[in-house]
Amino acid sequence: MIEVERYEVVGAGDVGAVVDVLVGSMGLRIDRDEDVTRTLLDTAAGAVAAAGAVLEHRLATEGTAALVWSESGRVLDRLDDVPREIPATLDGIDLPRAASLGAAPLVPGDPVRSRIIALSCVDEAEKTTVRVVVDRTLDDEDRPLPILLEVVPLRGYRGEAERLVGELQRTVAIRTSVTGSTDRVRPMVTGSIGPVRTMTAAEGWRAALRDLTAVMSERFPGVLRGDDPEELHGFRVAIRRIRTLLRDGGGVLSPADRTRFRADFLWLGDVTTPTRDADVHVLDHPTFVTALPADRREGLGPLLDVLLAHRAEVHAEMVRDLRSVRRAEFGAAWATWLDDDVRWAPAVAPRAGDPVLDVAVAAARRACRRLVKDGRAVRKSSPPVVLHDLRKDAKRVRYLLECFTPVFDAASVETVTERLRSLQDSLGTFQDAAVQARALQALVDARDDVAPETLIAVGGVIEHLDRVSDRARRRVAGDIGRFDDRKVRRAMERLDRTKGRDER
């Protein structure tokens, strides 16, 4: 599929003036002009978002309503004259691309108000060659967001789209935008539906995975926008937690599904890593500056530009991956799997029907034993990869404890987590500093336009990072010792303490 090109009108902008240019000067035809309240709809498990799609209920000011299904910014399905009320399900509604949702309950998001104008560029036979969408959306306080212009080239008419964009750039002040009209509808507000003690292992795993999928769906628009690093961070944490649950879901999930989705989430994590690394560089820039002697700080000024440019590049690449067919197909398969009762039946795996508490406790204890064993093997001379693996062990324990917190004994979780946090901090600082030092070196090495004073300043930053990394490494041994003690062991033994109480 040819990608939609997105632009933002610079400055306040006037929709009328933009449309006048498109229609008056460039000869486009208005197909639809609507003033609407848009409400995002999705299932609790985020089936629509997971499929890389957006489902909107659009209520026009004149009272008519439509359901609109878009993928990769293209409207693929539109059903007009639907009831004004937001549907509870799509059961009985003829929206073919949403057929897989069946009678799944829909959760509405927060409504936003937009004016959306769809235009076409047509040739002499009145055949559409390019589509253009103009979007003016209001924020929470009814202030207009920048006008978005989406150019939708049609296959075989690339030249026409390029000509149109060229003309647009000459007549309207625009800049490229990574987000589009469908990213402006707000995600649903989901309540936690996490695991509870009365569940079977399959039910508990499913509830935890649904919760994490909902987090990913909520974060997804922010990840695409890229204006808040926390959105990507939260998105990635959810991915890692899902990976942990898949890894430790042997005996609970069907082996084929588990293998397939482990590979998919590994890929998803990998495509987001360069952007997260770049975010960390940009966020840490002020720290780099203060770490240098005052007379060398000025040299770091141009480094921020380099970091920002690199960040924009890798973010654009990530957005392409997140809008790819692979991501859409895997998302759809994931949502279908989560919603398919048959694939969560007790018979799919030997421990699927066991109490979630038993299986989750066993998984957490197994992960903890591994962490302790690997921690005891760490030496002063251990290579960084050993510490990196230890960090992964620690995350695994932490994620299992957090995903099943409502199931475990709360006080025991708190005890283990508190010791774990300190170990994770040291391991994280060690690894982040080492990775940053290498990445900074690679970044300046790859460019031949870096000024000598900047090179010197970057050298200073790398020295600083090496010192940070060394200090963190020295702390690791103590943190391992504090974790590998009786208090933590006892807490791990008491994780299922509530079970005993319930049974009495």
Binding site: L76, P96, E126, R155, G156, Y157
Partner: protein, 251 residues
């Protein structure tokens, strides 16, 4: 990717209308559809308002110097693309005759698109020629619109015999015949339909009636469903597509 071909040795039976309308229904049901207009008259291309021109012409596609993908044009409908007709298709048989392994050329040209489309519909010219034999090789099923008249019945049987007589050439090919341009109020149409159904119980149940809406396609230059959604003919094509999908699923 399923390859279907609207085909009949006889002209004027509703091949192109079927190709265009079925493609539109399939695309609106979420399928990624490509129509390849192999008829040099270019009626399907006309219905989609696309210029009947392929760079490099039929020769380029047959020789492989033009990638079929480069010839594709999007229609005005999402998920529905077209390889336009080109006047040079009138020489398609000659180019195929010159080529090595001519019968597999169409299939090979389509192979590169298998990831991009779920359904390909070949709109064929009315003849039995090298081109049609290449279509038989490429297609999973032939959709054969048939008017319930004596001549149409004869041609349907000719086709059936041809397929039976060439088991090597048309392995796996399914013949999905259906009645088209039917005037139900005519006793003769009803009688012919009953007769042919008696002889060929495999014929599809859905019947495409004669209708002004289908004739209006030439004026509107759109599939029926795009300008007369919910009309009798639009509903008939929807039912026909559902039946075809069901038959293919049980293949």
């Amino acid at each position: 990717m399923k390859v279907l071909a609207t085909y009949n040795i006889k002209g004027g039976v509703g091949k192109t209308a079927s190709a265009v309308n079925l493609a539109h229904v399939a695309a609106s049901r979420g399928r990624r559809v490509l129509v390849w207009d192999l008829d040099p008259q270019g009626a399907a291309t006309f219905y989609f308002r696309i210029a009947p021109k392929v760079k490099g012409g039929a020769k380029g596609i047959v020789k492989g110097s033009t990638e079929l993908g480069d010839a594709i044009k999007a229609t005005d409908f999402e998920n529905l693309d077209l390889v336009p007709a080109d006047f040079s298709y009138r020489h398609l048989d000659l180019w195929l005759d010159d080529a090595k392994r001519p019968l597999t050329r169409i299939r090979r040209a389509l192979r590169s698109l298998s990831d991009e489309y779920d359904t390909v519909i070949l709109d064929c010219p009315p003849s039995i020629s090298l081109t049609s034999e290449g279509v038989f090789r490429a297609a999973d099923a032939l959709l054969v619109p048939t008017i319930p008249t004596t001549l149409s019945l004869r041609t349907y049987e000719q086709l059936d015999r041809f397929v039976e007589d060439h088991p090597g050439m048309v392995r796996e090919l399914r013949i999905l015949g259906f009645f088209s341009i039917v005037e139900r109020h005519r006793r003769l149409h009803r009688r012919f339909m009953d007769e042919l159904r008696g002889m060929h119980p495999d014929l599809l149940e859905t019947v495409i009636p004669t209708s002004n809406d289908i004739e209006r396609m030439g004026v509107e230059r759109k599939p029926v469903g795009a300008f007369a959604r919910g009309s009798r003919s639009a509903r008939a094509y929807e039912a026909l597509w559902a039946e075809i999908e069901q038959r293919l699923a049980t293949a």
